[in-house]
Symmetry: C2
Subunit: 295 residues, 2 copies
């Protein structure tokens, strides 16, 4: 009993976790351990149990959030932005963390390479229509940050163009926050060796071939440039209303627990309430009773 | 052991279930029992266990479906259309059946009362952009069928206009089927008394107030007109490529098991396969090995 209470305490402190993982003054991605488990001192099995335990809490908070949006009593909504190198586990976060809540309340968008039409517009053109409405949890699997990541690494637009985007992104996110969007940004941080091991796995399992592309190893060669681009995006776009969190992700179970905890923390802070009745409860009960007894 | 095998047999026969629930010649909604459990002779607890057991199978088939769409090796996709009177449990199907699969592979749309802009267009205008792409499971919580249900009951357009829509719907669904869409249409069938009991529950639980509207009881008075409109939609739009299934839904656990079984049946028939490698597997393994040993 005492042991259990101790485990609970040490493994569940999401508020503290936000601080631990937040990108602040003097942040250095290169100095950040990708294999750590900050804020969680338990084993993998304990981490998986904590994830399962958190799923219910997340689901219940999400239902209240949804109810507020549905009823028009709250403008609150959540936007989870997931970034990370190939194989960092973005899809696993969607499946194992977001997958715990009601699909009706989730608006999921996976941003792929832009189409010619999208490229002909400002980089936020395709992003704006995908932001979540009241009561929803929006999930961006990749996002507008690709426009200062892959675009910067491969010089897809002139430098002065991507250079201007950091401010544009900050203004965009501030606008979303002002509308009632709680923004949770997570960068899943893996080591280059861990990426190679994960790619290797895909090459030895025929049910994973579809996730592999020869471009993956081509891109691996640009690892350092990507880390530089991430360092810039993380530090220049970690604002008070939309801070970045760097989540060590060499251990998938930890990354899932950490992202779930960040979401739980955000929703707990929003503290969504069941909407009050917008009708005369007694009158409706009487009306219903009459119908039930007549039936 | 023998008992278990027997249970398995009696509780899991999805192929047979499709036939049992399908709307065919001489179908009569008024004569269809809303409290039955066709195709399932077990208890509620057994039904819930079967639902849980089916979730894994559904999730695995969905991942293969998704892989085929992602890789461009298959045009297959699924569209689940859920209709039913208020409180019939449409949301519960989304949560408890669809919720078992990866959110990345689901495209969920809840069709509400149309906006003025939507009303200014043909009734399918707002529906077309929501149909699922390759590899996805589209879910319509309400659908284009509202345009021959509520619209017909309340004379929202002239009779000759809604009258023409049955053929338009059949042509639309045939077009989707020809593109590779497996269409699963379910009508959740409850009794008027069951609806009143469910509405009553919402009036005695503050966490359910948000789901209640005074319009619900107003609409209840049109029960017979709705059943007539459903009878017409079900019989006129149950086609070979897009048959209707009427799912008795007074027992939520049964309805969920039944819809899951219909989806499982559809996916089992599609039999999605892991895409073959589109690259030279041996060459990529060698390339990766060189990087791993260099690192």
């Amino acid at each position: 009993m005492a042991k259990k209470a101790k485990n609970q305490q040490r493994t569940h402190d999401p508020a503290h976790l936000s601080e631990l993982l937040r990108v602040g003054e003097g942040f250095d991605l290169a100095a950040t351990d990708s294999s750590g488990t900050p804020g969680f001192s338990g084993s993998k099995a304990e981490g998986e149990a904590a994830l399962e335990a958190g799923a219910d809490a997340l689901s219940q908070l999400q239902e209240r959030l949804f109810a507020g949006g549905f009823s028009g009593t709250s403008a609150d909504r959540v936007l989870l932005i997931i970034q990370g190198m190939d194989t960092s586990g973005k899809g696993g976060i969607v499946r194992h963390v977001v997958g715990a809540v009601d699909p009706q309340g989730v608006r999921h968008t996976a941003f792929k390479a832009p189409t010619p039409e999208e490229l002909a517009h400002d980089f936020l053109w395709r992003v704006r229509p995908q932001v979540p409405g009241p009561g929803l949890i929006g999930v961006f699997d990749r996002s507008h940050y690709e426009d200062v990541l892959i675009v910067r690494v491969h010089d897809l637009v002139p430098a002065d163009e991507w250079e201007a985007r950091y401010d544009t992104i900050n203004a965009f996110e501030a606008e979303l926050a002002a509308q009632g969007t709680a923004i949770v940004k997570v960068m899943l941080h893996i080591s280059p060796d861990e990426q190679l091991r994960r790619l290797e796995k895909r090459l030895y399992r025929p049910d994973k071939y579809w996730k592999y592309s020869t471009a993956d190893l081509d891109e691996h060669a640009y690892w350092d440039s990507y880390q530089e681009a991430y360092q810039a995006a993380l530090t220049r776009c970690s604002t008070a209303v939309a801070p970045w969190h760097v989540v060590p992700a060499d251990r998938k179970w930890y990354a899932r627990w950490a992202v779930q905890s960040l979401l739980l923390n955000t929703l707990t802070t929003l503290d969504p309430q069941w909407p009050a009745a917008k009708f005369d409860v007694e009158a409706e009960r009487a009306r219903l009773k009459a119908l039930l007894t007549a039936g």
